[in-house]
Amino acid sequence: MISRKLQYVVAALVLAILAMGFYLVHLKRKAESISAGPLTQALTAPVNGPAEQMTLYLANDEDNSLRPDTISSALPSDPGERGRLALHTLVTRYLQAGSPHPLGTGADVHDVYLLDPASAVVNLNAAFANTHRSGIEVEQLTVFSMVLTLKAQLPQLTRVRFLVDGKTRDTLAGHIDLTGWLDVPMVAEASKSLK
């Protein structure tokens, strides 16, 4: 026979495990609702100053193209902020209804860090990658349009790396490799076939 004391201990442990499990699920749901809830559209940071030309490279799934589109906007002087604003604007366009290259709900760019004038690290949010459609071409269009848009704002840029929520991710959505640096001239060369 198992002693009564031992039975109480085991029962208490089982109850504690169950309670912790329920609490964990509750915390997870709460965290998800916070991160995914309000961000259905990327927000462009307000900037004061004179309007400047900003070139966005817009992807189109229908004809697999990447086309430049120049808009006028006030741009910050800090290169990292400038790059982030350009990518925010690009993502906002993709999130609009009827976009020719739609991104998933909540997709956004957290930050753009410049390690030096030639090296940029783009930190995407988890929703960007988690909701992205899977396929070589559709992922390639997204990545190339972001790299070329960044290059248009930061002419000295020669390499770009993508992180998701601050961490390295193998692929964007199962295909395009995000584990290393992307060579900007190579991206520009490869994207010629997309025009």
């Binding site: 459609r133 559709v138 990545v143 076939s193």
Partner: protein, 471 residues
């Protein structure tokens, strides 16, 4: 303290043991040997019964179309047809014959499953195809593909000669007291005399058994032995290693005589294997499904079906092919690259599919072009190993694109950062197919896959001489 404590230790040990068994257990599969190809199909166990997916089983064997109508699955295969109903044993064939499966038919996630024990009945009733299923080893032989072997013990020197009507290339394991030959790809079956005792100073006995996914021949030896394959793979010889010669003050031999002796002492070299020209890599697999093309169509399955069609098309053109995966299993990128790099093939083709866009896309790696002094023999980082082969890869991509255009398929070539292309040390491309129209279901169509497979195979055929010349 109560003395029953050991019960907890026992329970914990039992649980750990069960867990260990669960993790160590290999996935159960049926190995199918057909005249056109060999492949494996995963087994689904339900209520203690082994089930096999109909699509996985029949697709490599011929023209297959299936449709789900409520709880019914209607199947058209090689001119025959059958109608199954979820949860029912009985099924109906085109000639309105009502037949019974060994257990109930299952529809799971839009896929039909039949009991493995009813495989031969199914092939016979739908397509008039004769077959034989060895349940214990889970081996299915379609169209009398299985063959027997004969064994003969010869002397001076002592050797066991195994003869096969078709070429074989077994994996060999030589242990202290036995030689084990594993036939993973060859449909070798028993010759009716599985256990033979010889009582010879070299060979005590032999034993042949069919094992899951193959067959094993064991020779229990009493002296060290070597194994050689000769006669184009038709003969396997297990020979006793001669004892080392006693050093004597022999007269000086001529060079020719020395060479002759050396040749006699050396075991027969392994016959050269047929080197594949192409290695086909159906991307994704297992829990890594790739794109969800439609509620019933996953990228991993389309890629595998396309790989099998392409394999047939290439083999019909006399081009040897190997596949990195032949079932629904997941390989890492590095495993795929290693498979390609050790295959001695000339071209690696990764196959993908996507519901976005139209037609065919051919990709090369976005690794940098080789720097001055960098060659195929240079020591390169794993992620840049493709660099010296980029020119060949571009040539391959151009040839495939040209052939697709010629076949009326919209095609586009580009470079993309794709794994494992960067780590492949041979010409390497990725092909992504998309529907011509707007429905991703077109990707599951046999006609569309066939059209693409034929165009890609023709493109590869034009490359054969060019790529082999550059190696």
């Amino acid at each position: 303290m109560p003395k029953e404590h050991p019960i907890f230790v026992r329970v914990t040990t039992l649980l750990l043991l069960l867990l260990a068994i669960g993790f160590a257990a290999e996935p159960r599969r049926v190995t199918v040997y057909a005249p056109q190809t060999n492949y494996q199909v995963d087994i689904l166990v339900r209520d203690g019964v082994d089930y096999v997916g109909l699509t996985d089983l029949l697709e490599p064997l011929g023209r297959l179309e299936s449709r789900i109508d409520g709880k019914k699955l209607i199947l058209v295969f090689n001119g025959g047809a059958a109608e199954f109903q979820d949860g029912k044993r009985q099924y109906r064939t085109r000639s309105n014959n009502k037949l019974e499966l060994g257990s109930n038919f299952l529809l799971v996630d839009g896929r039909g499953f039949i009991p493995a024990a009813s495989l031969t009945q199914l092939l016979s009733s739908i397509a008039g195809q004769n077959s034989e299923f060895h349940a214990a080893a889970r081996r299915l032989f379609v169209g009398s593909t299985q063959f027997h072997y004969s064994a003969e013990l010869r002397h001076a020197p002592s050797r066991l000669v195994l003869s096969f009507p078709n070429p074989v290339n077994p994996s060999t394991l030589i242990e202290r007291s036995r030689v084990r030959l594993f036939f993973h790809r060859e449909p070798v079956v028993s010759n009716g005399d599985d256990n033979v005792s010889y009582g010879d100073p070299f060979l005590a006995s032999t034993n042949f058994t069919e094992i899951p996914s193959g067959a094993e021949f064991i020779a229990n030896i009493l002296q060290p032995a070597t194994v050689s394959v000769s006669d184009g793979g038709h003969t396997v010889t297990i020979a006793a290693v001669p004892p080392p010669a006693v050093a004597t003050a022999a007269p000086v031999a001529t060079a020719a005589a020395t060479a002759q002796v050396a040749n006699q002492a050396r075991p027969t070299a392994l016959a050269p294997r047929l080197r594949p020209f192409v290695i086909l890599d159906a991307a994704h697999g297992g829990y890594e499904t790739g794109a969800v093309l439609s509620p019933t169509l996953l990228e991993k399955n389309v890629n595998l079906a396309l790989a099998r069609r392409l394999q047939k098309e290439l083999e019909a053109r006399g081009i040897p092919v190997v596949l990195t995966r032949i079932a629904d299993n997941l390989l890492t990128w590095d495993q795929r690259a290693v498979s390609a790099n050790t295959s001695h093939a000339s071209l690696y083709v990764a196959l993908h599919s996507s519901g976005s866009g139209h037609g065919v896309r051919v990709y090369t790696s976005m690794v940098g072009t080789p720097q001055a002094g960098q060659s195929k023999r240079s020591f390169l980082p794993w992620e840049q190993a493709q660099a010296p082969y980029l020119e060949q890869s571009s040539m391959a991509a151009a040839a495939l694109a040209a052939e697709c255009t010629f076949s009326g398929l919209p095609v586009r070539s580009s470079a993309a950062p794709l794994r494992p292309l960067n780590s492949v040390t041979l010409a390497a491309i990725a092909v992504e197919i998309a529907p011509l129209g707007n429905s991703p279901d077109e990707l599951g169509s046999a006609e569309y896959q066939q059209k693409i497979a034929a165009a890609v195979a023709s493109g590869i055929a034009t490359l054969r001489g060019k790529l082999e010349a550059t190696q």
